[in-house]
Subunit: 548 residues, 2 copies
């Protein structure tokens, strides 16, 4: 006779083991380690909340401090591997297996540990994919999450950084898992209920704020004129051409430049109200001038951004906010919105090969994907038309039967031909393939596959891959915007010229853009201080970005 409540009883036992450490649900910070030892079992699947922004840092430290003889071989299933503790636990044997999505600041160390065999890698996911698996085959036994405050019943207020929390809690709490939240403080009444208390089993009072990384702040002062040129090309050659209203921008200075050109160059092109009105985007400070100039109708956010909270609260017509006045972000819904409701994803990458595959992995750094594979993929389940989407579909398949032709999402890679340390953007072979080979991965960590990319923008021009009719044209279109990189110099000049005549490649002059106009004077804000000024003092940049 099968037992049908084993998991449920196991949870009750875990909670009972933790209960003596708690006053109701509340556990003092000093007992966090003891609590984790009480509720964790060897081999557990554990989500230690941490994405590219907010971190359950107190719980991370408590976990890293456990005795590996008691708690070991955990299977970590979490968005971000960001804090040192996230990797320390693999060195001590507390954790063994890892499924994750993003590892920005730990990318070099995670690579070394993978090579050294200290981590058994499940897979590198895109966020929404990992969330999906939380409900199917990677359901956490224990979730260690972060919130701003809790009441004594466990109701949680996340503040603007709601991010992954509702998703993680839903998967864990409703499938017999234990939810432990670190909170800055315990209060009588939370300003807003982001997570109902009946899903939360323990609340650890940290006594200080959880860590948040200001990942989406780009200092306009660091934007180069080359980046401004790529931004002008994108605006005139893609945003205006297709009439892209619903979109997502990746991280990076090229897209920050686009945001800052909307109220200046975009205005001059007459694009206000016609492009870039509806966004799936974190609250980028560089979007402030466009918002203040009336370009933006609505922004849904994955997470918040350090310093933006007061500004967001003062702009509830633009952002999603709660009854408490602050942002309500939600990574799962924003990723879904990016997948199915946006007509364009535009972002930067580290390497692009001659087919158009791109990756941010190098042999010594495994940065993970974050949202790019999801945002930057064509949603084949999409069934609603829009002008940009239909046009991209027509360009890709002009001879197909119109009745059975789908549209295409615009997936744009933008960058300078030479990136950091003069490394060429264009490469014969992605480092991701070497890495996959060395680690014997079933799947190379390609960020965006060639068949999803529609345009590549560099300072040399725009390559419209939708218009390429065969592999050879595609290769030459890419070489044709690869500038003086070795791959760019290896172009077939005649074929590239023919592609240009067909509009597959468009140079600045083909678009009526004089590269000499790509001046920093075009930026609506030229410094972080300018952004703060645009915001009427509501944007409060983190200290490291203040130089005045």
């Amino acid at each position: 006779m099968a037992q049908w409540r084993q998991e449920q009883e196991a949870r009750e036992a875990r909670i009972a083991a933790g209960a003596p450490l708690a006053d109701g649900k509340v556990v003092p910070a000093g007992r966090a380690g003891a609590l984790l030892e009480a509720v964790l079992r060897p081999g557990d699947r554990v989500c230690l909340e941490g994405d590219n922004q907010k971190q359950a840092d107190l719980l991370a430290r408590a976990l890293a401090g456990l005795d590996p003889d008691k708690v070991h071989d955990l299977h970590m299933v979490q968005s971000g591997v960001v804090l040192p503790e996230h990797l320390d636990i693999f060195e001590t044997g507390i954790a063994r297996r890892l499924d994750f999505a993003y590892s920005g600041p730990q990318s070099a160390r995670i690579a070394r540990m993978l090579y050294g065999g200290q981590i058994a890698l499940g897979a590198v996911h895109t966020y929404l994919e990992l969330f999906a698996r939380y409900f199917i085959d990677l359901t956490p036994h224990v979730a260690l999450i972060a919130a701003v405050s809790a009441d004594r019943e466990g109701n949680l207020y996340t503040g603007p950084n709601t991010e992954d929390t509702p998703t993680v809690v839903e998967a864990t709490a409703f499938k017999n898992g234990v939810v432990v939240a670190q909170v800055n403080e315990v209060v009588d009444k939370v300003p807003r209920v982001d997570i109902p208390g009946d899903r939360v089993h323990f609340v650890v009072e940290a006594g200080r704020p959880f860590y948040v990384e200001p990942l989406f702040t780009r200092d306009p002062g660091a934007i180069t004129e080359t980046q401004i040129l790529t931004a002008m090309l994108a605006l005139k050659g893609i945003y205006a051409e297709y009439g892209v209203r619903r979109l997502n921008h990746g991280i990076g200075f090229n897209t920050a430049a686009i945001e800052l050109l909307l109220p200046t160059y975009g205005e001059r092109l007459g694009l206000k109200g016609k492009v870039a009105t509806h966004w799936a985007l974190n609250p980028h400070p560089t979007l402030i001038p466009a918002i203040e100039s009336g370009w933006v109708e609505q922004v849904h956010c994955f997470g918040s951004e350090v310093g933006m909270d007061r500004y967001i609260s003062a702009r509830p017509d633009i952002f999603f906010t709660g009854a408490d006045g602050s942002l309500r972000s939600n990574r799962a819904f924003c990723q879904t919105a990016g997948l199915y409701a946006c007509d364009m994803f535009i972002g930067s990458t580290l390497q692009i090969d001659l087919e158009g595959h791109s990756s941010t992995v190098t042999q010594s750094r495994i940065a993970g994907f974050g949202g790019a594979p999801n945002m930057g993929s064509d949603a084949r389940g999409r069934r609603h038309p829009s002008e940009p989407w239909l046009r991209a579909g027509r360009e890709a398949d002009p001879d197909g039967a119109a009745a059975l032709r789908r549209g295409r999402k615009l997936v744009v890679q933008i960058g300078e031909t030479f990136g950091d340390k003069n490394a060429p953007l264009f490469v014969e072979q992605l480092d991701a393939l070497l890495l996959a080979d060395k680690l014997k991965l079933d799947l190379a960590p390609v960020m965006v596959y060639a068949d999803d990319v529609t345009h590549i923008v560099t300072e040399e021009g725009i390559a419209n891959l939708l218009l390429c009719r065969d592999r050879d044209e595609r290769e030459q279109a890419i070489r044709g915007v690869a500038g003086y990189t070795p791959l760019g110099r290896g172009r077939d000049a005649r074929l590239v010229e023919r592609l240009r005549e067909r509009g597959v490649i468009r140079r600045p002059e083909d678009l009526g853009i004089d590269p000499l106009d790509a001046d920093r004077g075009l930026l609506a804000a030229r410094s972080i201080k300018d952004l703060a000024h645009w915001s009427g003092g509501l944007y409060q940049p983190p200290a490291r970005f203040r130089n005045w």
Copy 2:
């Protein structure tokens, strides 16, 4: 100077207009119409909750009873057009524009009204796509939702049919919208908080349960031997071949037959624990024998199913349940799980053309899509490998560079060559194309596009479209399993035989299946009563399915 709180102030005005009708947040059922008149404005985007299962029926009736001189030209953005009132409002002018996903029982009337120009159609979406747009460009001004109970602060308990509610509320409440919930009763304390009260503005006490459609109940007594044969083919030729553990089943008798064959035919094939262990699925009663036989590890649900509540509550190791003991379903997360965490979608359709496009639309019925386009599409953002997925990828592209080869989701269409009223499953042209032409739609309502379908299963055999190398092979592979339909008879017999030699087509005998073994005796349950018996009396079938 721009105003940044116009939406927020508009919401406050709406709530102030409704407040005199309420005692706190609670409004008696008799004042529902007056409340809606108070909070609605002409032209509003409105989500009237209703998907393929639960319905905010009291609010639907109240809306339909409004004075079109006062409330008119609403833009309805909702999953399901299911109740007569959902269409009545378009006849009276209360509503004008429609964006939806599913319209099962109203499919004939909605077609007539579209032809008659009474409805301005936005698009027919798949659920997750419509949810995505709630956060970008179809954010509701007012959401009219349904729950089981509420307390006086507006905290809502949805019971097992949580379904779309959290998604609809999140999009509306956090973007200055008004949320009105009908509840069966107002209580002192809800058994579980599915929606926190600070997202709910008014609670209408209906005094009786909201309507739920038992859409996923299939009477085993109605399963034919032909359907059993297709189920045997699928199990041996696909489930076993690929080792599919994570999957979704569509609605229909063919997949119900598969569920009922797991503990019998599947057991004989030695597949227990090797296939069909992790599900994104509604709680199908026909899955009970497989669950009771220990086949199923975990099921995440879009919604619940009438009569299954006690059974689910008694099986918390299998289903996602809340602290109150009942199911917690969630359509958005389950659709996400189906997209990104499942290796197979298998379902039935009404028409398949010679390329493999399929549709459930006929010229006189527009049934909508529901989840099929999402579940039945290849998730190109997916970055985690699994055996079935990798194998499907290899089959599709055996000569491609392995390092850059992605896997493929298995998308299987299963059915008999002749369906209801002897209509052939295979057609020269989908009715969807004629419909698109007549209604001048930018996009034909194709449910699953050919390039996403990997297998077609009929009683004549399995066509593996992954192995087809050109259009011609694909057409003959489809004709080759199309039986005695006109398209099946039009096959090129020699080419079909060659495809069979290559394993592109597999007949029952190629798989060692004797069609004479396809006997109802193989079904683990042969009636609804059998299912109730399997469940130990926990499954309580709705009256219409009881004949004992």
